[in-house]
Symmetry: C2
Subunit: 262 residues, 2 copies
């Protein structure tokens, strides 16, 4: 694509797929800010976590090209889209990676199941400023347009001030049900969990199968969490990194070290 | 299964699939320690990250049952296997969850792509002590048996002393190429990365496709990392948690907070 060098190059992806309303809203917002390359999955990829495609080849299809804009669908996962967009299509690191707007929350522990956030963590691994946006509204009529001023505010902060190295953002926007959003809060990931059950059924051939179901429960009483922010009508911004080490645990296990045991 | 109440109940899974040699080695070791329930994917699931199956049903097949032992294959991902094993088969939390022995390393950032470690993080989410074991050897003739004394040592420490709440272990065993393993080190996740490339090809119908390839590079000069341990012939033990918040970044972004923008 023909790039306007006065504007940043923004890679846009999602996990709900190339035709999702949330992606279209995010594309429109990003085109107000910069050159935009869209590489998004050709089918919904929710719950794919940080899956990458290594045992089958990837395919891409160009869907649009004009000055400052190109759009591709990709047969892979959100993480694949970010890798392929950078390494095979753009041939350079973008200035910003954004993912979403996800149709549903990615707050709390949902970050580890989320394809939206897997794409964003791929950006962090490349040390490219990256933001995931999710709307905490599962309705088919979810109004993504109300996200715009918050997405613009956060995105302009990231472009103007940068992010610490290898750090990305998990942004969740409340389903405010008509009451006004109160603003933006910078918070931590809540200790909230899925309490899962399996719905056991019998198919017409009398073979058993299971559907995963569950309810989401917040056990975290802190007023500095993403769950608190969302339930109090604030947009939550959680800075996220990919160091999963529990550093405080290391000294507790030092006496487990041994010499050769063979 | 008939459970020996004097021994722990251990849930065993992996991401290389029910027929993998590494799983068979791990089952044999765990049967020396406790009652064993195996629920493992019916096909290899490498690179599936923390994928969960929500848009299709799950199926399981019982492959073996005897006193203190049951074995099932499952159509889902490693994360699915842990959820289903606990909630639909066992009907209670196991005393321990182990995953592996993975055929290849899950050190450093591989933790976020790893199906082996997704299963282990599922255990941590349930606050069940959980350990992932991986052998840093990609050879088809990889010798998993040498892992046994280290797996026994670490597993007995976990059963005897427990782990801090919501914390699990990522254990990698070096491919020592004949030289002796020096012992066990408790370390942090290294800042090492995949430098990926896409191999672009043309199919017989003259349509382009891509294969993901890459080399793994360690940029971390610390002598307290899993990569350092493995390259120096130590078994690496990284305590892992699922809080991805970059806590130190929160105060840096506090001036990004706003009030209502709509």
């Amino acid at each position: 694509m023909k790039i306007d060098k006065n504007k940043p190059v923004i890679l846009v992806t999602n996990d709900d797929g190339i035709y999702a309303t949330g992606l279209r809203t995010l594309i429109d917002i990003m085109r107000e800010i910069g050159n935009v390359l869209v590489v998004a999955p050709d089918k919904p990829q929710s719950g794919m976590g940080h899956a990458v495609t290594i045992i089958s080849p990837l395919r891409v299809q160009k869907l649009a090209e004009e000055d400052g804009y190109e759009e591709y669908s990709c047969s892979g996962t959100p993480a694949d889209c970010v890798k392929l967009g950078q390494k095979a299509i753009l041939g350079r690191k973008p200035d910003l990676i954004v993912s979403g707007i996800n149709h549903g929350s990615n707050s709390s522990v949902n970050v580890i199941y989320s394809g939206t956030m897997a794409a964003v963590l791929e950006g962090a691994l490349e040390n490219v400023p990256s933001i995931g946006f999710s709307l905490n509204d599962y309705s088919v009529h979810a109004d993504f347009s109300k996200c715009k001023p918050y997405i613009l505010s956060i995105t302009r902060n990231v472009i103007g001030k940068g992010l610490p190295e290898y750090t990305c953002l998990n942004v969740n926007i409340p389903s405010n049900n008509g009451s006004p959003i109160k603003g933006i809060k910078v918070v931590r990931q809540a200790m909230a969990f899925w309490e899962e059950k399996f719905d056991q059924r019998m198919d017409p051939q009398e073979r058993t199968y299971f559907w995963l179901t569950g309810v989401f429960k917040n056990y975290d009483t802190g007023v500095d969490t993403d769950e608190w922010a969302l339930h109090n009508n604030y947009v939550s911004v959680v800075p996220v990194h990919f160091d999963l080490t529990s550093h405080k645990t290391i000294p507790l296990l030092k006496d487990w070290e041994t010499g050769n045991l063979n």
